[in-house]
Symmetry: C2
């Protein structure tokens, strides 16, 4: 899922996002609550109408911002109280309020409010946040409306805690399960270990969503371990820094080696960037032109969507491990150039 934090996938119009193959976007409840306000978006017809996106939207709950904006947040059993990063205004985020805000946004999939902590952290802190996340999930489930509600498994790097969290949440019978609190400072290997433990105990018939991950190799590895859905700012944020993903590893478009390179950024991936050369993209970044981030964002999202499509096709054709080995080999060659 491309990330549309502030009701826009940064730099792309809705037709351009559609063109990358995206079928569902992620919106950030906390950011939209701060500005322009979920109540305002509700009065304007909800997030789909507001941003002009007629396909599914998943909204997060704001739980991740408890982690990422930690110094501006106070946590209690009731919920989190933030100082807005925009205007210092007080913003309260309880499980009930998180569900209400997402109902105002009118997303198709709403996430429960969870308590995310950084890793590593002492076991008692991870445990307390994990237990609180279960209690908050119950409160969210109690006020569920007609949105599809996903639970979020927490538990840090403690396998037993993850198992306990997964089992508790499974009893609440959610239609989908996310794995949260990863990609927050731990190594990829630690993350994979947790996925290996957690995925098998989540209900087979429900989608499994790994939040905030990641690099193409993380995605491929996580699918191997049983994950179905992902969201990450990596394709979009890196694009704005002139980094383009390809099957031969990432390309740094600012590098001098692309100065006169007439090749497209990636001949394998059709996107809005297909019609121009690496030389042109390098020029756009050098000149500080918006079109550099725009075209590279289009490419990176198309690359990620294409990867997910290849994965789905390979699973259906029972050739996933062939795809896995081929992709990993290509990426491990390192940067194709620059």
């Amino acid at each position: 899922m491309p990330v549309g934090t502030q009701a826009t996938v940064k730099g792309l119009t809705v037709p351009m996002v559609r063109e990358t193959g995206a079928e569902i976007l992620l919106g950030n409840t906390y950011h939209l609550a701060v500005r322009p306000g979920t109540d305002l978006i509700a009065r304007l017809g909800g997030l789909h109408t507001f941003m002009g996106w007629d396909r599914p939207i998943l909204t997060d709950s704001g739980g991740f911002q408890i982690f990422s904006l930690g110094q501006n947040a106070e946590i209690s059993e009731e919920g989190a109280v933030f100082r807005s990063h925009v205007d210092g205004r007080k913003i309260e985020l309880t499980p009930e309020r998180a569900m209400q805000a997402q109902a105002e946004l009118g997303s198709d999939i709403a996430m429960v409010l969870d308590h995310v902590v950084a890793l590593p952290n002492p076991p008692e802190i991870v445990r307390a946040a994990c237990e609180r996340s279960i209690r908050w999930a119950e409160r969210c489930r109690a006020v569920a409306g007609d949105q599809t509600q996903f639970a979020i498994v927490q538990g840090g790097l403690d396998a037993e805690m993850r198992l306990w969290s997964a089992e508790e949440l499974t009893q609440l019978d959610f239609p989908g399960y996310a794995i949260g609190g990863l990609s927050v400072g731990e190594s990829p290997e630690e993350m994979y270990r947790i996925l290996q433990v957690t995925c098998p105990v989540l209900p087979e018939r429900c989608p499994r969503y790994l939040m905030g991950v990641g690099r193409p190799q993380d995605i491929l590895e996580s699918v191997r371990l049983g994950v179905d859905m992902f969201d990450c700012v990596m394709p979009t944020r890196n694009a704005r820094n002139a980094l383009a993903f390809t099957d031969e590893g990432p390309i740094r478009l600012r590098n001098a080696c692309h100065r006169e390179d007439p090749r497209p950024v990636d001949a394998q991936t059709p996107s809005a960037a297909s019609g121009v050369s690496r030389s042109y993209l390098r020029h756009l970044f050098a000149a500080g032109e918006m079109l550099g981030p725009i075209l590279t964002t289009s490419h990176n999202l198309a690359y990620y969507q294409c990867l997910m499509r290849e994965i789905r096709d390979a699973i259906e054709a029972d050739t996933f491990m062939e795809l896995y080995n081929a992709k990993m080999r290509g990426w491990q060659q390192g940067p194709a150039n620059g």
Copy 2:
């Protein structure tokens, strides 16, 4: 003509530029000579290929930068020597070099090198620049290749000087004539007075191009006085500052009155911005999102293209003055809101 200074109309992909109705773009020779270099663009197949635009391109000669980057330029009879505004490198722009650079860019219409001075300026300075511009035009004509070459009438606010310049250039038999050195500090009325004098003496069968103009009302007035073509950064630059043009005057999208306004920026002008509300556009600008400038640029260019189309249709239907009066009335009502 939308302005594509650095081989891109700021913020728009080529399909989006096409969608606004644009049939010809302007490229800036000086900027492209500085970065990435006209020789590099030539080696990559010319400006059309480089930026992926397959419709006509007009390139200026760099003469305007003699004016706008004046403190970095030394002028002699031979030509202008600039210090690059990017890296301080010395850039020589003689009439012959200006034509060569434009040939490297491969534009469809190439402008002669002229010597633009600010207004007001003492008569002897305006006269010297005007006379030099004629001599430079001769030198450009002498090295003309297969590009369509437009002359540029100079002469400041001196009607006789303008007439003399127009007559001298007409004798060199150019396929098109620009009126330059306007919109550089003088009042609209002074500009109109010069157009009134100059247009009638330019050959009827040749396009007349008013460089660097302007506001919608300037365009309409100038067409009334005989101008056929325009270029201006106004629709694009203003869009990035959240100002949108409409038949009811300009709209400042940052204004609080648009906070919950569900209306599109302009129901009369189809563009990439048509599907979203003023409220959404205001949110994008408030949040510093690229999509604000992108959508507003699309709207403003569509608005200007639509205006030119209405003008052409009205001229054909012999109803130009009706259109003129209606448009002027609408714009003079002042900002519709904010």
